[in-house]
Symmetry: C2
Subunit: 623 residues, 2 copies
């Protein structure tokens, strides 16, 4: 079930339990609200019903509901349920398994859009049809079941589909690709859990086949689906962000399993350039609405930041794979940033509404959305209960349900903690209890509850944002820098280590090449990016004309309206009247300034108090 190589070994969901705190509470909400909510909507929209109709031979084209990729939402919900049950839950996955299995055709083909009387033939539209993409998600759902110890109708269906793909698209099959990468990593995961190398071979074929201009040039260009340049030759992620990051994840999986260091190095190089030039302060990726795509280097507008939630999920998957392969803290750093500032942002406080795009500035407040209707667009100034393209809710659900797996790893020296969340971590003879109010407070206490006799190393990640931290061990107190703080000793049950991370608010500037936020600063606190919302201010327009001074004091205070532990920030910030003579260019005159105050809240909690304007980047007063 494990990668056959790499620096670190992942732990199973039965080895890590999160209890309460930031992520533990979100896992509970995921189980109690988001997963049932998605299930209801899949029923209500008929996307689940498509499978029932298919099984009954009644799926005429006019009866099918949803977009061409709607099957994948059923699979992603099944995956979320599989992980949820793997961590002790009781989500009703058997219903989904049965419905999906019954729709599979002899030979393993499974898709509700193609191949029936009146429908277009199988694989007649690989560019937009999403058949292999949907298999990818089916296979990942099956893998989630197998990795949590279950074999059932869903796992058998997934394996039959994978076998079908290996025949149909193998070395002797159709020499082509799906318009949406995803199946690559699914096949490697299936190889890991089954040991059957045909899946790995097929994944490698798909990775190598892409970038050869097999798919047609379209309005968005072949870059859209990464078929313009082989991934080995690319220098930065480009095109549709989710596609690019899923492909890169699959490429890392292939590289690790085949010992292809050049392929791994190519992905690392692209990750580095992308993080240095094409990533938002939130960790969000993919700035363009057009093609849901990465922009050019430093093309990172705050107001039109697309930052699809699914791209953040994909980025976390990629960072995780690179962390396992290399053991380098920078990958866990980006995962942390992305989890707290995009993945956590996506879902409303009640777990039943979701952002698809996650901009860093909202210029107009919009209006409240109807919670009973799917929203037809990706963008919205409020979270939507569901969308015509509703890829994000189930993607977040599967991420949260499996989040325990991203927290800690092991190697032959000991255990590593990458993300800080209250709970327990178990591996072999060792068991740790983690106690923390992170990210609200910076103290993380790790207690060794069980341990073998031999010495081992406990590694605790010190995020790059921290600069420096304090580590308190049984041996004393030391200052530790970014990376992993390692405590190597012989442990006794009851031994404790405490890491103190400096979560005081800090001002953050941007590289001047990011033109869109020139002359602005942002405020961060621990791993959290903050923002200003109009709801905390007199006028929705105030955020247009506010100015800050980085020498001003920042005051912390609780904001219980957004959660028990939430810390809000207050800073003095004058508003400056704008000129406005009908033409917004010229020798702009000195303006009047009025004293004022700005309240900042964690960005991931924005838009939970009705329609608002919002901004992360705050103009500096430079008159």
């Amino acid at each position: 079930m494990l990668p056959s190589a790499g620096a670190l070994r992942p732990l199973g969901l039965d080895q890590v339990r999160l209890s309460g705190g930031f992520w533990g509470e979100r896992q509970e909400r995921n189980a109690n609200a988001t997963i049932p909510h998605a299930h209801e909507w899949l029923d209500k929209t008929g996307w689940l019903g498509n499978f029932r109709l298919a099984a009954a031979g009644e799926l005429a084209p006019h009866r099918r509901r949803g977009r061409e990729f709607s099957d994948s939402e059923v699979y992603k919900l099944a995956e979320a349920m599989a992980w949820e049950n793997g961590r002790g839950g009781s989500a009703p996955i058997d219903e989904l398994s049965t419905v999906v299995a019954a729709a599979q055709e002899p030979g393993g083909y499974l898709n509700t859009v193609f191949g029936r009387p009146g429908q277009e033939p199988r694989y007649s539209d690989l560019v937009w049809g999403h058949e292999l993409y949907c298999y990818g998600h089916l296979i990942q759902a099956g893998v989630a079941r197998l990795r949590t110890g279950v074999e059932d109708a869903l796992t058998a269906t997934a394996i039959r589909a994978a076998d079908h793909v290996c025949v149909e698209f193998g070395a002797a099959g159709r020499q082509t690709l799906c318009g949406h990468p995803e199946i690559e990593m699914a096949l490697v995961e299936l190889y890991r859990v089954t040991g059957s190398s045909r899946y790995l071979d097929q994944a490698r074929l798909f990775v190598d086949r892409r970038g050869q201009a097999t798919l047609p040039d379209i309005e968005l260009g072949r870059t859209y689906y990464q078929d313009d340049i082989p991934i080995r030759e690319r220098t930065a992620f480009a095109g549709h962000a989710v596609r690019a990051l899923y492909l890169a994840s699959g490429a890392v999986d292939v590289a690790v399993e085949t010992g292809d260091d050049k392929l791994l190095a190519a992905v690392v190089r692209q990750w580095e350039r992308t993080v240095a030039t094409r990533t938002y302060l939130t960790g969000g990726m993919g700035s363009r609405h057009e093609g849901e795509a990465f922009g050019d280097d430093f093309e990172l507008p705050a107001d039109r930041a697309y930052v699809e939630t699914c791209a953040a999920v994909a980025s976390v998957m990629l960072s995780w794979r690179l962390l396992l392969a290399t053991g380098e803290a920078r990958f866990a750093d980006l995962a942390e940033r992305t989890l707290y500032n995009v993945v956590a942002t996506s879902t409303s406080l009640d777990g039943r509404a979701f952002f698809y795009a996650n901009p860093l500035q909202q210029r107009s407040a919009g209006s409240a959305l109807d919670p009973t209707k799917p929203w037809p667009r990706a963008t919205s100034s409020e979270r939507a209960p569901w969308r015509d393209v509703s890829c994000c809710p189930t993607n977040v659900a599967r991420t949260l349900a499996s989040l325990g797996g991203y927290v800690a790893t092991a190697d032959h020296h000991g255990l590593q903690l990458h993300q800080y969340a209250g709970g327990t971590v178990r591996d072999g003879e060792t068991e740790l209890a983690v106690t923390t109010d992170y990210p609200w407070q910076g103290s993380v206490v790790v207690r060794v509850d069980r341990t073998g006799e031999r010495p081992w190393r406990l590694s605790l990640r010190v995020p790059a944002w921290a600069g420096e931290a304090t580590l308190v061990t049984p041996e004393g107190v030391e200052r530790v820098g970014p990376g992993y703080a390692v405590v190597s000793r012989t442990w006794r049950p009851g031994d404790q280590v405490r890491l103190e991370l400096p979560v005081a608010p800090r001002w953050t500037a941007a590289d001047p090449r990011i033109d869109a936020v020139r002359g602005c600063v942002a405020v961060e606190r621990g791993p959290l990016v903050y923002c200003a919302e109009s709801v905390d201010h007199d006028s929705v327009l105030a955020l247009d004309v506010v100015n800050v001074d980085r020498s001003a004091p920042v005051t912390e205070r609780p904001l219980p309206a957004l959660g028990r532990d939430v810390v809000a920030l207050d800073i003095p910030a004058p508003t400056t009247a704008a000129a406005g003579n009908g033409w917004p260019y010229g020798s702009i005159n000195a303006e009047e300034s009025e004293p004022g105050n700005l309240t900042l809240v964690p960005y991931h909690l924005w838009a939970n108090r009705g329609p608002v304007t919002m901004r992360v980047w705050l103009p500096l007063d430079r008159r």
Copy 2:
């Protein structure tokens, strides 16, 4: 043929001749290069052939070529030829007239996409089918012929089509709309030239019908085609920019002809808000790639500025209508800015390649385009010879061919000059000769060559950008401010007036609410916006890290590579090394700065010397 109301009266193409100079040369190039070029491509692509096949009864769906709106390109080329011939040219319009006329069906229906065996039925896809949009362009081509004194197969075809529309979509017909406004202004123009009020009634019906949510909600929202809010209630232009501006133009036409002052005031109000908050320094409108649409107020990114060429053409049409209706100089000011900085930008020096989108910053240099192949996308870092969606070349062609009509007007007090171009203006007993090297030089000499005995007023527009100008009349020298400088006297042949506009380079800042260009300045000279191109600098990356100081001297010099009279500018501008430690946010450190020089060229001439990076807005040095 004239508007029945309004402050100013337009002149016919036979009354205004442009000779040489900025626009005269462009008219010649349009006649000699662009019009033949578009004709060749319409043949080569089969878009003209569609009409031939239709006439021969051989237009099976698989034989049709081009997008659903390709008929309109044939009509726009015909319109360009009609105006060209009206100003003395000899474009081969008869061929187009014959081909188009032969394809019209009994009853007046004409469209090569719908209604034949195997095609979808007429008016079965009003949302995307563009049937009424295409009629609009057909009718405008017919109007161009009629207004230049010709009745032929094309004019008869256009009138038959308009009559068909009045029956089919009239008060007793289909109570619906086309997804793309355009026919509204065409019908009013046809009313003016024929006197038949049914066309005006139909135009008013279409204007009033829009905004009632007749068309479906789509991914882009009903705002995309302005069917969300009646135009009388809207506060700023929104949605697809070309659609919005064509609709507004039609609404002004209806308002003027029906004496509907409220409707006129509503459009003026939207124009004001749009110019104050949603317009680029170039006059360009429509910032978003997604939906080719207006953004929110102050959402004006330089690098992703969409600024479709056709939206600029539409904006000039709208400004012109508002100028005629009100006589206010601000409308001519915007038309000037848009003509020099977007319409002129669109076309290459040789007249055979075109921009569709006109961004104010190009971050990556791209590569040269194949001059023999249509480019599949709207965006390109080089001008393309043709596109799959090739609306812009013919739109620019018809604008340039009819540009004489935008230069001057008359009223019962005398003549008004709105745009400065060398040539002659004639109205009744009066004839003027205009001599100028504008926009390169600021001197405009107007000589009265013929005149009646009675006194009359000569009005010369002083652009708002000028601040103040010098007017030299037979009576003496005076300083005049923005608006119209009026010389009221009894004229004798040979009398001269000279207007001296201050075209020295000037620094321009932006309203601080335009976040995308905070901390930057631009340089303008006369009506021209300037930009820096990487071709004039050592490294394509230099433009990423350049800084300017507005107290630095600006030096003028000729740049013959871009044209005989072209003035380039040199300014000292240090480059500042960027930090680049792998994550572009944090406490960005003081950076090293190296002295350097920046060359600026007129923005409308950019990308004529191979693939380049480019920027209009220049970061201020603020360390």
